[in-house]
């Protein structure tokens, strides 16, 4: 069990050389603040994080600690106040939102085809590719369906297929399963694990659910709140899932408790 309290920029664990040379995502001393009504609120403070190629990293943190802000920065939807973010691979990272964000004026298939089109896939190849992606998330019958005809779980699978259509090396996921019931979430965890391992994706998965983070992540990064800093991280271990979950839960609680004491 390697549990490390992090100093910014410090190597977390012995990583393979190839990974050091070409990580999928590298954040160096990234901070983000918002100036609202004359007051400066620092949301992210000096975050340094490296995501290796093909790695599955879960970022865990309490509500409002800046998880979405972090993903928005990596996705290029917003700029860091200071620090640098590098995403290798050329293609922009795909981002899956908590709220599926599928376009309701298009069918499920067309949503995916739009992503393909914006990626520059020729028109003739799009329908076939869209069907292949829907099959990947086991939804081949959903091609002609309107979004409102699909259940929450199905929508998230279509959203995953649309994100995969971007063919970025990096997939960012912002609590994509938070609104789903436990059974559906369970199934989607398996689905995601399968797709991740088959497609050699680098995933940054944000959640406030410890069990989900421990279950999915090869590495779990705990963010503190106000400001969001990397508090700790856990890498792959031989510890049983339940025991690791308990540990991470304790750490998260400790983080939250600190705010009560202040």
């Amino acid at each position: 069990m390697s549990e490390t309290v992090l100093r910014a920029g410090a190597p977390v664990r012995p990583v393979a050389l190839a990974e050091v040379e070409q990580p999928a995502v590298r954040l160096t001393h990234v901070s983000k603040w918002f100036d609202t009504a004359g007051r400066r609120q620092t949301v992210l403070d000096d975050i340094s994080l490296t995501v290796g190629r093909g790695e599955f990293v879960c970022v865990l943190g309490a509500s409002g600690c800046g998880k979405s802000t972090l993903l928005n920065l990596v996705a290029g939807l917003d700029r860091p106040s200071t620090g640098a973010i590098e995403v290798t691979g050329g293609r922009r990272p795909a981002l899956m939102f908590q709220d599926h964000a599928l376009f309701p004026w298009l069918t499920a298939g067309r949503n995916i085809e739009l992503a393909l089109r914006l990626r520059g896939v020729p028109r003739r190849e799009r329908p076939e590719e869209a069907r292949r992606l829907l099959e990947l998330v086991r939804l081949k019958d959903a091609y002609g369906k309107r979004i409102h005809e699909l259940s929450g779980g199905m929508r998230q699978r279509v959203a995953l297929a649309r994100a995969l259509a971007q063919e970025g090396d990096v997939l960012l996921m912002d609590e994509p399963f938070a609104a789903l019931d436990a059974i559906t979430r369970d199934v989607l965890h398996e689905e995601l694990t399968r797709i991740w391992s088959e497609n050699k994706l680098s995933v940054v998965f944000v959640t406030h659910n410890v069990r989900e983070a421990v279950r999915l992540g090869e590495r779990v990064v705990l963010l503190s709140s106000r400001p969001g800093r990397i508090a700790r991280e856990w890498t792959d271990s031989d510890l049983p899932e339940a025991a690791l979950t308990a540990r991470v839960t304790d750490a998260l609680r400790e983080e939250i408790r600190r705010h009560g004491r202040r």
Binding site: F56, G76, A101, P104, L118, S151, V187, E190, E191, S197
Partner: protein, 302 residues
């Protein structure tokens, strides 16, 4: 890899339960039952067609009764049959179609130009904050200015030409369309814009694939109002700026009929103007609105 096989995970090799089956079951449970059954034709006739037809019949009956009671002399209040005769005379002279066609052509062309300009203006104002602050209120003000008010000015500027007619149509319709689009853009959930950016929709692709479709409910309302204003402005322009050099449209016909004191023709022409307005609404805008509604855009998000 098929379901039920093993997948390497952080915990080493783990059995994946046969998740495909579970998933299929969940999907079946979750899916909405197959769409609502089609309304039978008889019900459509009874609920949608019968009431308006009955209303028209009632109006005709009341009109006929007023005529027979001789409330007014018949050169002031012709009977429905007189009006019908005026219509059929027009038909046999071959002027009915050409007159309606002249006006509709002008209306369509003017409206199309208004759509192009109004859309461009709406997008521009939506994108540039300072322009919007400056021009937005003027645009809203123009929207409530009856476009008839422009006719005298247009006649002075352009004389009795088609340019006058089109100028009045544009001044009537462009503000509605631009404002409708702005309202639509304001209502676009920011999530769609961000999703579009993540997918790489920038510049014209963003407008075409995300902004316009997402703003469609408001935009469509603006277009509909824009058409109504186009048609009204056209009639006002034709009525006032009537001259032999301009082709004979419905407005001019109305003005001619008035000068001949031909009340039956006046009423027949009003009927034609009304029918064109209703027909465009029913045949063009109603289906569009239904489609937008079906896309789950109006109100019911997600």
């Amino acid at each position: 890899m098929a379901a039920g096989e093993t997948v390497a995970t952080r915990k080493g090799v783990r059995e994946v339960r046969d998740s495909a089956d579970v998933e299929a079951g969940l999907d079946a449970l979750d899916s909405a039952p197959v769409g609502p059954a089609r309304t039978p034709l008889r019900q459509i006739l009874r609920e949608r067609v019968l009431p308006p037809v009955a209303a028209v019949v009632l109006v005709l009956l009341a009109w006929q009764a007023a005529y027979e009671a001789e409330l007014k002399p018949d050169y002031l209040l012709p009977s429905p049959a007189d009006v019908w005769r005026a219509l059929s005379d027009q038909w046999y002279e071959g002027t009915l179609f050409s007159t309606v066609w002249t006006s509709m052509q002008r209306g369509a062309l003017g409206f199309a130009a208004a759509v192009v300009i109004g859309t461009g203006l709406g997008l521009l104002l939506g994108a540039v904050r300072s322009l919007r602050v400056g021009i937005g209120p003027v645009l809203s003000g123009l929207q409530s200015l009856p476009s008839v008010a422009w006719v005298p000015a247009a006649v002075v500027w352009f004389g009795l030409t088609d340019a006058t007619i089109y100028a009045v149509i544009l001044l009537g319709a462009v503000p509605s369309i631009a404002n409708g689009l702005l309202a639509g853009v304001d209502q676009v959930p920011p999530l769609y814009l961000r999703a579009g950016r993540v997918l790489g929709a920038t510049g014209p692709a963003r407008v075409r694939h995300v902004l316009l479709p997402a703003a469609l409910p408001g935009y469509l309302a603006g277009l509909k109002q824009g058409w109504a204003f186009s048609w009204r402005s056209l009639m006002a322009a034709e009525l006032i700026a009537s001259s032999p050099e301009l082709g004979l449209g419905l407005g001019q016909l109305l003005e001619n009929a008035r000068s001949y004191q031909d009340m039956a023709l006046v009423l027949a022409t009003i009927g034609e103007i009304l029918v064109v307005g209703i027909a465009v609404d029913l045949l063009l805008f109603a289906p569009l609105e239904r489609r937008v509604l079906r896309a789950g855009l109006a109100g019911v998000r997600g």
